[in-house]
Symmetry: C2
């Protein structure tokens, strides 16, 4: 009998979130799991790492083929600690991040702690996948994703991924999906991003981040934002290499 | 007489760092400046934004053509607050982030709060530039950068930048630079990233992020890491679009 795959799981909604626990219940029957996730929500933390204070980890749950830890750090910190302190002698076959409560397509990926964990996996040479659903509800229904998750996880392990590249997979909020589309990251922009308020005691002004996302290319049918708004699962191959290659020659002439 | 350009400045080392203050003294004679920077160091914060607590801003310094604020948020938060609460009716001509105390080339850009601020500028349609020097010393000598900064700032304003694209500019630690090279982001990897310690009082284990960066392609002479190690100023055009375009057709066949 062949060994089950070994999967490292993290997220940015925290170890108690329904999304990561649905992912654990989905994958536990078919894989050995190591889960290291933030002790509370770290939404919007992107690829942030913690360098100015030390981190701690606490065991949360341990059973056959499943170990769960909570960590005081960011999603990227969790993956680093897992790979260098907790995996033991067995390197994970895959890093899976999520399931995020909320859309991580287009510009949201830029700020996403879910993606921060997936990037950390590929930066250490491990194929990585991020799962998100377009539903911020803490009690979101993840069941329609079940078979897709199993299928996409095993495909990702089998096919591997080029260095520095991972998959950003977003699901629409729906009972059924129209299918899967491979996409590029859409160009969107956040607007009306600041809400003013006052501290009740001192009346000092404070500023909350908020806003709405505007699609800058709603007609383009090759983006992740388009796929989601039309009922498809959006798979966006994503790289840590941010070089704007098309500008290199232009700049060489200007500089 | 034409109006001086209007430049928004931020960083990730905090408003008191020598690097941002050297940038202010360099640009104040030639530009109107709005400075909004974190109240203390936010190194490694990447593109992180703060959504779970409200932010505050405090005026630090105000004179003709220069206003400085400190902010409780991340570098990206600082730029958002500046653009939506502090710029007034005049849109900045450029966002400048830095000068960072430390190398932000290759994979360091991925974790860099300095880059987080620059990305935030271009996400709002403003040309943006990040400056860093390969010297972590809080008292680093920025004077050799002076004329390059003036030149690169005015070139950036004049030429503009395509949407979602900014410049990541790194300087070697040197008294003189061999010149400027336009580069791609090099492929490097951090290793030995965790240092174990114990809390003095409880002896509980804690984990510090640390490590060394390894160049995965030291022979390639078109990377930012190569330019810096050979004495050149490295200019890397950088985009917020992380799509791995070369994988789209491959994945379409596999899915």
């Amino acid at each position: 009998m062949t060994q089950k795959p070994y999967i490292l799981i993290s997220n940015d909604d925290g170890v108690a979130a329904k999304g990561i626990n649905y992912l654990i219940e989905t994958l536990h029957p078919v894989a050995d799991l190591l889960v290291v996730a933030p002790d509370s929500a770290r939404s919007g933390y992107g690829c942030a790492i913690t360098t100015n204070v030390p981190l701690t980890i606490q065991p949360v749950r341990s059973e056959r083929g499943l170990k769960v830890y909570s960590c005081t750090g960011t999603p990227a910190d969790c993956v680093k600690l897992a790979l260098f302190q907790l995996v033991g002698n067995r390197q994970p076959d895959l890093v899976v991040s999520g399931i995020n409560h909320g859309d991580n397509s287009s510009i949201n990926a830029h700020y996403s702690g879910t993606m921060g964990a997936a990037f950390e996996g590929v930066l250490h040479g491990i194929p990585s996948v991020a799962f998100s659903i377009c539903d911020h509800n803490p009690d979101a229904d993840f069941r329609p994703m079940h078979d897709y998750i199993i299928d996409l996880v095993f495909k990702s392990i089998t096919m591997g991924m080029p260095r520095n590249t991972c998959l950003n997979i977003n699901f629409p909020k729906a009972d059924n999906f129209k299918g899967v589309r491979v996409c590029r990251m859409g160009s969107t922009q956040w607007v009306n991003e600041i809400a003013r308020a006052r501290r009740p005691l001192t009346k000092q002004p404070v500023f909350w981040l908020t806003g709405e996302r505007v699609d800058l290319e709603p007609e383009a049918d090759d983006t992740d934002a388009w796929a989601l708004s039309h009922g498809y699962v959006a798979i966006t191959p994503t790289t840590v290499d941010n070089t704007a290659y098309e500008l290199i020659d232009v700049l060489k002439k200007l500089m």
